[in-house]
Symmetry: C2
Subunit: 131 residues, 2 copies
């Protein structure tokens, strides 16, 4: 029993460690919490972060890099650990997944287009240079 508690005691982090590791400010971390994107444990008044929170933070930051607003990011990552008990809920989640996929694929088309233009433009520049 003693070894069990030791082995299963999962690691936690402070807000400073989290901020440091993800290269953001504590203010930003709390802001994400205010918007309901993460909800760390409270020990008394102090925030304690678990692996779950780190996972969500990684998703948040990737969402930001992709240019999504925080509110939208929230609905997305909430989707990932939504209760998928009843059949109706599962079906709802599946439709949401489809919407998300459509959005992401549209973005990828834009992105590939931009990259393609960049390539042909570079070719023109190199041609000018070789002149």
């Amino acid at each position: 029993m003693a070894s069990r508690t030791v082995l299963e005691r999962e690691q936690t982090w402070t807000i400073a460690q989290i901020a440091e590791e993800f290269a953001i400010t504590h203010r930003a971390v709390r802001h994400y919490e205010e918007l309901g994107l993460i909800s760390p444990e409270r020990r008394g008044t102090v925030r304690v972060y678990h692996r779950r929170d780190r996972t969500r933070l990684a998703l948040i930051l990737r969402g930001k890099r992709l240019g999504f607003p925080l509110e939208e990011i929230r609905t997305i990552i909430d989707l990932y650990d939504a209760p998928r008990g009843r059949r109706s809920q599962l079906e709802y989640v599946l439709t949401q997944i489809d919407e998300r996929r459509a959005d992401l694929e549209a973005r990828r088309r834009d992105l590939d287009e931009a990259l393609a233009e960049l390539t042909t433009f570079e070719a023109r520049c190199r041609a000018d240079l070789a002149r």
Copy 2:
């Protein structure tokens, strides 16, 4: 000479037509102008838009869909019709292109990652559903 002027008279658009076509407001169009992203001709006090402006607007909106800030979008599309006269300028433009490409490819990695996760998540949901 008469046919020449008729044939070469290039088409122009009003701000209302532009806004309509791109599904944005006239206010947004003027905002982009204030930030120097487009610079339509002036006939007296009135704005006259040419094909060039439409091209830039398309680039602006795609940049927005990709989540870039307008200031950054400006530097990007300015790059496209920067003067590439002197060799030094061409070389500068080429380095800029490389930076842009790196940025876009990083985004694509994020995007593909997100899509992959979505796919495995969907599989889990479908499995749950088939239970």
